[in-house]
Point group: C2
Amino acid sequence: MGGTNIAAAVVDKSGAVLSRASLPTPRGVGAQAVASAMARAAQDAYEQGGFTLSDIASVGVGSPGTVDPEQGLIRRWYKMGFENVPITALLARALPKPIFLENDANCAALGEYAAGAGRDVRSLVAITLGTGVGGGVVLDGSIYTGFQHAGMEPGHMVVAHGGRLCACGRRGCLEAYASASALITRTREVLGLAQADGKTAFLEAKQGNPLAMQVVEEYISYLACGIVNLVNLFQPELVCLGGGVAEQGERLLTPLQDILARENYARGLPQRTRLVQAALGNDAGILGAALLPFYSHVSTGSYSLSQGS
Amino acid sequence: MGGTNIAAAVVDKSGAVLSRASLPTPRGVGAQAVASAMARAAQDAYEQGGFTLSDIASVGVGSPGTVDPEQGLIRRWYKMGFENVPITALLARALPKPIFLENDANCAALGEYAAGAGRDVRSLVAITLGTGVGGGVVLDGSIYTGFQHAGMEPGHMVVAHGGRLCACGRRGCLEAYASASALITRTREVLGLAQADGKTAFLEAKQGNPLAMQVVEEYISYLACGIVNLVNLFQPELVCLGGGVAEQGERLLTPLQDILARENYARGLPQRTRLVQAALGNDAGILGAALLPFYSHVSTGSYSLSQGS
């Protein structure tokens, strides 16, 4: 579920997408209408594949904002004006199945862990470079979310004390330097362009534009700073980078890997954290959501995963 | 075990110290001599309390540097020149008991979790403000260490991109701003003093010295930045601050709590991370080491806690 579209898919246990559908997210019409659209998207998806509701074992929902998977609540989703929306209960009316809810970045991390770049590792940090900088941590099959499920916000880790103002109110957040939005803003500023997207600086830099090279170098420097910080804290077996900017592939990864090799606090150890591109693209979130029933959470409070039905 | 002293104590299951002893860490004489001194300190401690070796159930060791609890190795302890020292095996010769090894900052975190400030919580981040900035995370009774046990180095999280050079080689690490050493260096620089300790700036600020107030304010601003970062990533139920600087108590905690209340990404939720002073002082590490057998690790690799014997 996103602020623009609702994407639904039928996914099997192995993480294969069997059929899919999507429709626009209804705006300004309240949470029940959004839940009804979600149920409709799900129905479209299973009918598309020739399935019926009885073929569906459970429903996984990935939502932006802060969610409470225990209570099936979207606590806050600013863009939609949602506050304490019982999305699981609303959805269950039209979709009478066990329903699992999780934050979308956590779903993407779980998707990569279960069926993508992290298939063969026991611990993974996934970072998504989009409008913001999202992230998720999976440790030995459990999503780590924090005691109120609002942890792992790498975008709101300050890497430049007193630096650029972030939408969250802090100064110097990683998101203000390493999101696709920050890259685009900086591309426009430095190159003096009225229009630019997340690829412009990389394209121009490849053609030798020194200003674009400066933008790319700065972007990589801050992103690397955030990645090394996460490695020095979580030391996961793998970090994977997703989102639009990550599609730059080796042009982004190679300099990031060089900085990680130099600045990783555990660089002297024989086994070190690897940094790779995410493997599932936009499907990571949908796969992770679908596979939620097979994974658990690192317990950091009185907590057991509940499900609507 | 430290670079200056080896402290030993007999600790019961509840985390009470029954007797203790300490002796200087032998320097420049090799790992076997250090292990022998550790065994001697342990013997002094139990004899001091009128115990014999048969009263001792197990031995816990807290060590600086990067350790491998599985293999009983000190992988790297730069100050002592240790590299891949099998400390558990060396110690077991003189102390034939199950021996548990962990990093000293992790032991301190576990001590606070089991018997100190975190007695009543399920998740805790402990930060120690000393020569460096150390840290540990305990999640529902498990120490989180990373896949090669070298994670949770909050001192080596960059908060000021391109800032002060840190001993680790990065620029702008939290340790270069928020350690007691950094505070002392800054106090000397700004106040123009030949001698200063970790209390000088706080004392002078209390007496209205504007330069000292500036040093304290700057110190608190960077430390708060690091703490909020950790809260935005781990969202533990509790953060506790230990080490010499934390003895400033409310004068340090109140402004830090104010900044956390303002900048915590999850500040809108009804339940938020609390920030308190550590409760056990220098005993946190020794208690945590002794209690290691009763706790486990968050699994992030093929891993089960082994023990020498």
